[in-house]
Amino acid sequence: MTERWRTITALFLLAVIFFCAITITNHLGRFLRIDLTENKLYTLSEGTRQVIEEIRQPLELKLYYSRAAAMKGPEGIRVYNNYYIYVRDLLREYEALSNGRLRLTVIDPRPYTDDELDAIRYGLDRYSAGDEPFFFGLAVASELGRVAVVPFFAPNRQPLVEYEISKSIYDAATAIKKPVGIITSLPLFGPGLSPYMAEMMRMQGREVPEEWLIIKQLKQFFDVVRIDDDASKIDDVELLILIHPKDLPEDLLFAVDQHVMKGGKLLVIVDPYCVADPVKEHHLRSSDMNELLEAWGCILKPNTFAADRSLGIQVQMGPNQPSRRLPTYMDLTGRSFNSEDVITAQLQTVRVLFGGAIESTDVPNVTFEPIMTTSERGNSISASPADVYRFSNPDMVERELRDGSQPVVLGARLTGRFQSNFSEGPPAVAEDEKEKRVQEVLGESLQDTTIVVYSDVDMINDFVAFRETFFGPAPRGDNVNLFLNTVENLGGARALSTARAKGRFNRPFEVFDRIEAEAEQATAEKIAAVEAEIEKYQKELQSIVSRIEDEGEALMRGEVIERKRELEESLLLAQRELRELNRDKRVRIESLISKIKLCNILAAPSVILLIAVIVFLAGIYRKKKYLGVRNDE
């Protein structure tokens, strides 16, 4: 054999050996890894480990991924390929931790196959990639036939993917629905009429109250237990929900208190003014739980409404009236939600109607964490619930409201060990018995527990949380998700509630946020003034237009027509000013962006260029010097 052939054979052998070695190591060291991320984003959490440990029966994990469709699809689908590998490996880690109780199969559901049919049957989301359907979801099936799914793995939900997987495993492994207790002053469950009575009422043209849609939704996932006002003990319920609680008897308050002391979770939804409350008197439409909550870390500020100009919704106050923005009727978006809390991390918009302001009472050993707020421009206005106009009329609100500098809290999470409000003994007990009963009272929570408080009840009412469509009511925004996420987080598996969104996956440009906030604050007054001016002009214009419509342009005097023209001009000018003010906000950021770009793109290469020039000049100089020395010789 010639030398050349020997070399080629050696190279071929090298290729084979290294190809095999790479393939083998890829399978061997699958779980050896170091997670350098600050919050250990890619390490299975303690909560997940606990969920896996608690599984008693074998579960099948079926990962559906349309690999062939992804290959044929556009290049953009590559992001799914990489994400698929991440999810698959994560699931393999679950499998490895489970001691054989979890079995993972990866399925490529090709069109017109049984696999595709199964994927559809499980309720996985189906998209189209090119001419093939595209699936990327997980079905967890138990031997008893219980199935839980993650309908679609969207790469943008990566920070929550572990929670979603663990939750579906937990759901499939748990055969019974968890009980959830509800205390309320509202007809959430409908009037409990017989179908015959309801039909009769409808025939008489009367409105038949029905069960709230949100309760119907809740019943799908939980065993909903209604707790009556005369109850004096709450048992067998992990999560207790208080919705618009009013004038609760002492015994019931005591029962709620002891529920929390036993380590039970609590969700409190109160409201300074509940539109959905059937009570006629306005001043009776408010609720709070301050008698218990104050000692636990927060209060609902009495007679106070949250408002925010930048979030207010346009409302029409009457027929033929221009729509106006009402800052107490808000669509919370984006930064209103705590992006690090699993309840709110994925929410986009939540509609709030006349919500209140929650304030921390700084109780030691309890953390108060806002999870839903107005923007920094938000502020609160004082008004008694009896003076409905003061918080529901756009003009009145506009006049009262001063732009704030700190977000107003509309939702908060309290965590820690809470102190009982009844350490002196249960209420209404005869003196002689009291001593005995005091010993039964738990003075402090037995373990860390969680209370979530929201300051608006209407947000879960049908007319705010749902909208009518041709196919029936459909959820509007994320109101339903907010409620269900909260219940899931508090009332679901204890282990799961520790598998919260994993710390910071969102790392915004704080400098930009600061600049924007500063600019917003600096121009807020001006903007508000110009906006008020615009509204004044619009109103006057509207009245002139309606007069013209009524009386006919020909009959109107010239000066009125002239005034209309003037107004139109002023309106245009004011609108232009507003646009410029808004543009000013961007200017500072844009100039910073240009500076950063310039520094980075030009500075480093220029320095290199400079060094190069110096090195070469030095080279030439040395050469000359050397030649000079030679010449001298």
């Binding site: 070695a21 393939t23 061997l28 050896l32 890619y42 992804a70 790392r507 400098v511 962006i593």
Partner: protein, 245 residues
């Protein structure tokens, strides 16, 4: 004995900074790296990390690293200095290693010079600097792969241009090995296991975890094996040519 490799490395490294090529490379690399990073969507995304930059590296390296690697051996052969090199008391293996490490260090310098980006994101927000560090480690290993391929190409031809083109072609095979369209073509004649093995050869796939801040054993093993394999192949080839005379 390691010293001879060290001597070769030093000689090479000094060689870089006395020729204009090194500065041209650094200039082009830094300009494009910064220019492409700070175009959209960096400022639109408003995330204090260097994801955009690390996403760029595989493509940026595809053209720039072969430019460094092309002359490693081709030049020596063209100018005949290879004979001089081997008249010195240095084995082929050490010479190959010395040259490779020198070129790798040079690319490391280029990567380090992108530090203003790290300062920039730290100024704009609070990035996870460990994730950035993992990204840089990944970037360096990625560059090592390109360089090992380029060096092999450089050893089999005396023409640097041919070497450059060959390296770009071979490296793109490894960059695009996990592209859906490539896999689709391969799927028609490869078994599922083989398909996975081919996909597993992708540079980008193994860069993915590092870029996220996770150091995985299998990624590190891939890079070490891949680089060792190609460097060994270079040594075998040059040795073969030398023996053949």
């Amino acid at each position: 004995m390691m010293n001879t490799a060290l001597v070769v490395m030093k000689r090479e490294l000094r060689g870089y900074f006395t020729t204009p090529l090194a500065y041209v490379f650094l200039f082009v690399f830094l300009f494009f790296a910064n220019f492409m990073t700070f175009r959209s969507p960096f400022f639109e995304a408003r995330q204090a990390d260097l994801r955009v930059f690390f996403d760029l590296l595989p493509v940026l390296f595809l053209f720039l690293v072969p430019a460094i690697g092309m002359k490693l051996w081709a030049e020596e052969r063209k100018s005949g200095t290879i004979e001089v090199l081997f008249s010195l008391p240095v084995t082929v293996g050490r010479a190959v290693m010395g040259k490779f490490i020198a070129a790798w260090l040079f690319i490391a310098v280029a990567l380090l010079l992108t530090f203003p980006m790290v300062i920039t994101v730290n100024y704009l927000g609070s990035p996870d600097n460990w994730v950035i560090a993992a990204g840089y480690i990944g970037g360096l290993l990625l560059a090592g792969c390109y360089l090992a391929v380029s060096m092999f190409c450089s050893s089999i031809t005396a023409n640097p241009v041919v070497s450059f083109i060959l390296s770009v072609v071979i490296c793109s095979l490894f960059v695009f090995a996990d592209y859906p369209s490539v896999l689709l073509v391969l799927e028609s004649f490869l078994s599922a296991a083989m398909l996975e093995a081919v996909e597993n050869l992708s540079f980008v796939l193994h860069f993915e975890s590092l870029r996220r801040g996770v150091i995985e054993f299998r990624d590190m093993a891939f890079y070490v094996l891949f680089i060792t394999g190609w460097v060994l192949a270079t040594a075998v080839w040059i040795n073969g040519r030398r023996e053949a005379g």
